[in-house]
Structure formats: C-alpha cells, structure tokens
Amino acid sequence: MILEAVLAASLLVRVPAQEGVVAPDVPVAGECAADPAMLTAEARALLADAGAAPETATLRRARDLVRRARKAAPGAGLDLEAADLAFAAGDDEEGADLLAAAAERDPTRLSPPELLLLARRADSRRRWRDAIARYRDLGRALERGGEAADWVPARVRELELEARADAIAPPSAGPSVEARLALADGKRALAAGRLQEARERLRSALDLAPEYTEALLALGAVETRARRPAAAIRAYRGALAAEPERIEALTALANLLWEEPDRRTKEESLRLLDRAAALRPDLRTLLRVSASRWAEFGDAPKALERLDRFLEHASPGERADAAALRDALSRRVRGAAEEPTPSAATAEEPASSLAVPEGPAAAAVDRWRKAQVYLERGGADADEEALRLLEEAERIDPAFAGAPELAASIHLRHERWREAEDALRRSIRLDPSRVANHEQLARLLDRSPDRSVEALDAWRKAEAAGSTEALILLARAAEHAGSPREALRLYRRYENEAPAGPGADEAAAAVRRLEAGERQTVLVVCAASALVLLAALWLVWRRRAGLTFAEWLARDPGKAQEARPVVGRLRHEVLKHGGMLLSDSASRLEESDAETRRATAQLLSTRLYGESGARGLLAEADAAIAQLTALARESGVRLNLRHRDPVFSWLLRGLAVLRGARRSLRRVADHPTRLRDAAFARRLLRRAAACFAVSSGPELSRTVERAAVLPVRADALRALLAGVAEERDTPAPVLELIDGLAEGALPGVCISALDWETVWRNLFGNALDEARRRGGSIRLGLCAERRRDPVTGEARLRLVLADDLEGGIDSARIRERGAERGLGVIVELLRKSDGSVEVVPAPRSGYTKGIAVDLPASEETA
C-alpha cells in the first residue's frame, strides 16, 4: 500500500535530468533535426509555453522532439524525459518501457517508485529476471534514501523461485491409448522377431507420443537386435531425455556407447554406467562391469574404487573371480601414485526439452515446478516446502499424476515408506502407464518380506505397463516357484526387449540353463511316455495275447490227456472244496457267537491258506494252474487264462479275492470280536464263492473231453488199410464189419489222431506183412464193444481187429517182445492214453484170433 501511494504521487514528477548529454537550460531553437540538445530544448520550450495542462498536440510535438533527440544521442536522461511525456500523454505502456530503458542504462537515475513500477510490471508479465533486477535496484535505491528495504530480498527470492521453476520442463502427459496399442503391437512383433514390423509400429507410437519412454526403449531394443547401433543409441538417448533416471536406458546406452571406437564416447558410456550404479545400488553387477571397463579405459584408480565397492558385498566366488583384476589394478594404482587422478565422474542431467504440456492444469504444474526447484536446492525445509507445493498441486488438479509421483520420490528419500507407497499408488492410479512408478512401488514392497505377494503383484503390473526389469524379477520368481517354462518365457522376453539391458547377461544365462533343463525335461517326459506306452502295450498284449484253455487244447489235443488229471484236481480241490467252504463260512462269520466266528476263521485259514503245515486250497490251485501253463508252454502256447478264458478267468478272480481275505480271516481267528474284519472277510468270501460258481468245472472237463476224443470211423480205418497195403504193394483186403458194427454208431475214443493212426497203421502193417510172409491172402474183420468200468462207470471202447492167420502173436509176446514189428510202439501209445492192447479169441468163426485195442471212450456217440 505504501509503495503504491508513493508510486502514484511520484510518477509524473520528473526532476530535470542530471546528465551531461542534454543540459537542462538548453534554449529551444525551432526545428533543429540534427542536434539532440536543440531538440530537447525545443520540446521543453513547448511544454513551458503550454503551462500545467498542455494540449495533446503540444504533447505529441514534444514527445516527437524528445524521441528524435534520443535517437541521435541515447541516454538515460532522455529516456526519462521521454517517459514523463509518455505518462503525461496517458501512454503508460511506453512510459514504462522508457523507464525500463533508463533503468537498463543507469538504474540510479530512477526513483524508487519508478523502479517499483518496473519491478511489478515484469513480475506481472512473468519476466522473472527483469523483475528480480528491478527489485534489487529498488532495494539499493531505498537504502540510499535511508528507507526500509528489508522486504526486498524476500521478494527477490520468491521471484528467483519462479524463474527457476519456469526453467523446469513440466511432466509429460501419459501416452494415448493409440500409442499404447502401437507399443503393444511393436513388442509383439519384436518378440516374434519381426523387426521391421516392430520398428514401424514403435515409430507409430512415437509419432503419437514422442516422449514415450517405453516405445523408445523398445525401439532401442529393435535397433540393437537389427545391429543398427546408431539408431539404437538415438532411441536410448530419447528415452533418457524423457526419463533421465531410467535404468534400462542408462545401461543400454552405456553398453552401446562402449562399443563405439572413440574415447570420448567410451567415457560417456562409463559415466552413464556409474550413474546407473549410483541410482540402483542393488544392481551390484553394474559396479563390477564399471570396474572392468574403467580398467580397460586405462583409469586404474576409478576402476579400483568401483571394484572395491563391488567387493564389499561380494560372495566368495565373486571375490575369487575379481582377485586377479584387483591385484592388477592395485599394482597400476601404486605405480601411478604420482600421476594426477582425473576428477570423479559426475552425473550430468540432460536438460529437459519438454514443452509445457496442455494436460495438467497450469497452476498445478506451476507448483510442481516450484517443488522441483526446492528439491534441487536440497535440505529438509526445501523438501517439506516441496511436499506442501505438491499437495497443493494435487488439490488443484487431482488428475495430475506428476505431483504424487514427485512426492513419492521425496518420501522415499526420507524413508517414509508408508507415505511413499500411498503417493505411488495415487500416481499409478492416475497414470498407470508410468512404468517407473510401478517399479518403484514393487521395489518398495519388496523391502518387506511379509509383503512379497503384493510385491509380486506390483511387478506383474509393472510388466504389464512395459517394464523390462519386471520381466527379470518375475522370471526369477517363476523359476523359484518351480515354473521353469514361465521363467523361460519371461527371460526370453527380456532378451528380446532389453538386449542391452542390465539383466541381459543374467537373462541369457538363464535362458541357456532353462532351455537345457527343458530339453532334459522333454527327454525325461518322452522316455517316461515311451515307458508308459510300452507298459500299456505290454498290458494290452498281456490281456489280448495268448490262448484260452479250450483254444490251446483245440490246437494241441494231444495234451488233453495230460491236462485231464490236472483239471480233475482243480475241480476237486478248488471248485468242489472251495464251494463247500465259502458260502457257509460267510454265513457263520455273521453269527453273533464269537467262538463260532473264531472256529470258522481258523478252519478257513487252514483250508484256504494251508496253515498248520497242510497245503491249502490256494496253493493247490496255483500248482494246478502252473502245471497247465507249463504243459501249454511245451506246445509253444502262452495261456491267457486271466483275461481271455471264460471259465478260468472267474476261477482266478475268485482265488485273488481269497488272497485278499487272508489277513482279515487271520485277525478274526485271533480276535473274533473284531466285527469289522469279520464283515470284510464275509464280503470277500461271498464274492469268491460267486466267482467259483460262475467258473464251471463240468465245462472245463468237457473242454478236455472235446479235445481228447477222436471219432472212430470204420471207413477211415478201411482207407488207412488200403493205404498201408498200397505202400507194401499188396492187394488190400476187405475190412469186414463184424456183428453188425454200424458205421457212425461208435463212440469217440480218448486218443490223439496221430497216435490213433500210428496204432492202426502198425496193426494193419503187421497183418499184411505176416500174410505176405506166409505167401497167402488175409481176411480182416473189425468189431467193437462199448463197455463201462464196473466200479467207476467210466466208458471204454474195445475195438478188435480179427484175422485168419494161424499162430503168430499173443498177449504175452506183446508184453515181452513188444519191440517186435512195431508192437512196442502200439503198447506205448496206448499206455499214454490210458489204453491197452491184447490178443483175444476170434470174435466169430472164420477168424483165428483178434487183437483188441481198449481205450477210454466218450459218453456220447462221436
């Protein structure tokens, strides 16, 4: 208020200029165009004549004269006179301009109100440097006049803040949806190795959002993979300009620049690497790489310093690896102790070139910029002031993501984790596309072991936003969680998207390791699958292959004779005794009397499992089955009784059930009160009884009989006789059927066809040979007698071959000299089939004797 009053009172009061160029007492000399003094004098004269209120025309004329004088002889005095005239003419703008010009030439010529006027005008026009200069002039003027000037420095500081804030680039608005889609397309193409397409899509994204860091990083990756380092460097520089602390951009650019031949570029590379290491101390390998490169660069002290920092937290293995390098560096440092050491590299922030965005509200951005200035100044008060400004910015523009983001960085610096997390979450909510915020939040959450799940989720969101660092973190987590395939996918993505990133080496090593593991897994899976397949095939083969009992005997009926007693034993021991025991036993186990249950269980244990030294039902059955299997194997046949045989499969199933009941029965025998065991055993016994009931013993015997029985046909024997006679070149005698033996009325006999033929071939041959030996013909007849064993009732058939030869063989000779004339073969073959041969009286007149063949017969007529 005081200043404004002073200003109003003083503006139009101009003290005559005190400069040498224009004297105040110069006379008015009319139109003297060339002489500034004359022009000035004329102007003054005009004004003097016009009095206190000069007319407009007079004023215009006077201003014109002064203007011409200033042109001819510029100076602060004329500027001030011209300013007075302009103010008098109501032209405040020109008046102020002229005052400003005077102030530039000699600020001491201006009065404090004039200086204040100029300062306020520059202030209002945001010309901060002008305002600051004028306020400083004003301060000095006030001090010279003995007036209070202590308020001026505070105002100057405010203006300086404004000036520095103006120099700071505002945060960029997030990329558009179209730009994000283009980035996603580009990344997909990059992952698929379609570099040209990836490049086009990423450039589209950058056309839409030139400062889009993720797109620039991805483009850098594309160009790196396409072996276009210059283009890759450009892309990474762009990313770094947009986000100076983006670690991927720093490391990728450092790596690319390091490959360049010139030394200055390498030096820049080293500085970037150091900056990355300073920003991310957790990425310790950066220090190690930096040490190696500084060593290669020839700066041993720097290399040693970085290596030592790396070794502070190194593992024993890392120490061992670095030992040689450290020794070499130490020697070089000691040797060059006298040489001047270059100054430590300083991180240089690239100046931001961003224009003021239109998105966030200007006032909010203004406060954000001021907050940045405070942060640059440093100090606790500055941080708090910055936070206050950022809070204001958030309040003014709740959609401005830059404010909470910056606040988060301040809180992080002060390790105020909760506030930092809140600020980061606010910032992410406002702009989910900012990868750095996602990463920062994830790292913050990673600090607390009990929030690892949240941290992982944050890394996933960072990955979705485009973070390549998240890829590495998620890959490690996946590998740790036992998902190598997912880990491999993420490591591969990292290799694609950040080929020169800080984790490139780790990703490459992990990919090699996981691919090797995957190959091994594939091999193991293939081998296991092959084994399973083979096992399955083997099982199928076991189920499908092999013959049934009936098929075997049909193929090899000669084995029926041997199989018959085995089947008989099986029927007797298993089906008969088993059937007798099981169903009743099951009922007895249901009874309430414990002693009955115990006695029943004991009886069953003994009978079924052969306890107490006796051979049990199961052992008998197993032995019989094994014997049948062995007999079949002698025929070259594998029996499949378990899976294919309609009778044996039930029998075997019943036996398996009985095996399962053993333990329960034993328990009941020992502890008859164990009702659960009794109930379990009861169920199994009934199930086994049902299986045995289905397994038909008579059917087994019929199968044996069908295979063993050979039909006896007189016409077949006649044909055989004719054949034998032809072999001996002898006329075949008629085989007469004696006693009305009818064709087809004979039962079958239990003998194999081959044995049967051999028996009769020998019998016919002997008769024909004997007849020829005697030089005459022979009469042969055949009769048959069906008989039954008087005790067992078994059917037998006796066939008698009668002849009319005198003397010859008798039963005693057959038994004693059986080897003669093939008789021994006949005896042996018949014995094998439970048969016999003997010489009997002639069955009728006209014959001298008969040779009787006796064999077991079938019950039915064959």
């Binding site: 029927r571 008969k576 059937g579 009743d584 067992t792 009732g793 042996e828 439970d834």
Partner: protein, 156 residues
C-alpha cells in the same frame, strides 16, 4: 416225550476236511455224530459196529497208503498196458468209487451213499454205477457244506 436220537453219518475220506466242514459250518453239524474212516477197511469196521443214517465218500484218496487202497490192481495194470504206476495213480484218484463199491454190501438198504463226484455231465455213468450201488448219489460241484449235510440227513 423222548428226545429224537442223534443221527449218525459215516464219512470216508483220507483227511478230515469234509468232516470238519460238515461239523463246523452246517447248522445241523453239531447235532450229528460224525463217524470218520480214512479208508475202506476202517469204514467197514465202523459199519459193522454202528448203524449209520448216511454215508459220505470222498473220491480222491491220494494221502492214503498204497496198501490201504482197495481195487483190482492187476486188472487196472492190464488196462494200462502193464503200467502199474499209472494204475495206482488211477486207483488213488478214483478210490472213492472203489470204496463205495467195497462198502455197498455192508450198507443197509435205504441208507444214502453220497459220493463226492459231480455226475452232472455224464448221467449214464451214474446209472451204470447204480446197477451195483443203487443208493449211490453224486454231489453237485460247489454245493455248500449245509447243502451236503441236508442231503445226508434226507432233508432235500
């Protein structure tokens, strides 16, 4: 009112399996006096000593000493072309038939004789045996102990 006399059944078998099963598993088993003979000679003695209500004969006597087996060994050997071993094996595996035949004269008429053999497949064979042992019956394979006891006691 007098108590019903206990029934007496003679079991001829080379072990004790049938006797034990009949006695322990049949509900009637405890109410029967089970006479047990391991061979034909012992059975004959028991038949001479006791009046029986039924006779049960096992078929296979493969645990019986050779000398205790009944049957015409010579005739059987001749049937097997002089193979005495096969003849003896046949005799043991069919001993029940021979025992039944040997006991038939000593068994009173009307006393059932159950032979542990299933004649289901060859009824003509049973008919042939019955010519000499009219009371002979076979047992169906898989019959329970209770069922067999019922048959021995004439309950079915």
């Amino acid at each position: 009112m007098s108590a019903r006399p206990r029934r007496v059944v003679l079991i001829v078998e080379d072990g004790t399996e049938y006797r034990d099963a009949f006695r322990r598993l049949s509900s009637e088993g405890a109410a029967v006096d089970w006479l047990h003979a391991p061979d034909a000679a012992a059975a004959r003695r028991l038949l001479a000593e006791r009046q029986v209500d039924a006779v049960f004969v096992d078929v296979v006597f493969d645990r019986t000493p050779e000398e205790a087996l009944v049957g015409d060994r010579e005739a059987l050997a001749a049937r097997y072309s002089g193979d005495r071993g096969r003849a003896l094996a046949y005799l043991a595996s069919h001993q029940g038939f021979y025992v039944a035949a040997a006991l038939a004269p000593a068994i009173p008429p009307g006393v059932p004789v159950l032979l542990a053999y299933d004649f289901t497949g060859d009824p003509a064979r049973l008919a042939a045996i019955r010519e000499s042992i009219p009371a002979l019956e076979g047992v169906e394979e898989g019959a329970s102990a209770s069922r067999l006891v019922d048959r021995l006691l004439g309950k079915s």
